[in-house]
Symmetry: none
Subunit: 68 residues, 2 copies
């Protein structure tokens, strides 16, 4: 059934995502605040992003919501 293994739910730091997109870490934070990127927060308030999410976005794959 061509079951895809794990989704590599690896967490990336703002600088990691920023490097991937060639933007400023602050910009990545802005995306998270804008709700364009899913973010997990540490107990200290820092954000962490899903690598799978970032990879999908890099490929130009929008968030598929509702496959009606």
């Amino acid at each position: 059934m061509t079951v895809k293994p794990a989704v590599t739910d690896n967490l990336l730091t703002p600088s990691e995502v920023a490097t991937l997109f060639r933007v400023d870490p602050k910009t990545v934070t802005r995306w998270a605040k804008a709700g364009k990127l899913s973010s997990i927060r540490t107990l200290g308030g820092h954000r962490r992003y899903l690598e799978s999410e970032v990879q999908a976005l890099l490929q130009g794959i929008p968030q598929q919501r509702g496959t009606a």
Copy 2:
């Protein structure tokens, strides 16, 4: 986090590519719109170009499509 594997191509900003080609950023944008240049967008809509692609073009290496 200071070092990261280069699993992704280096991305250039419109002004970077424009400087490399000695043209206006607007012209670079037109190339992207014309499909002559591969480009990925940031979540904000800004374009980022592959340095490998630009370098290849700068060297006069046309994109072989169709192998006709």
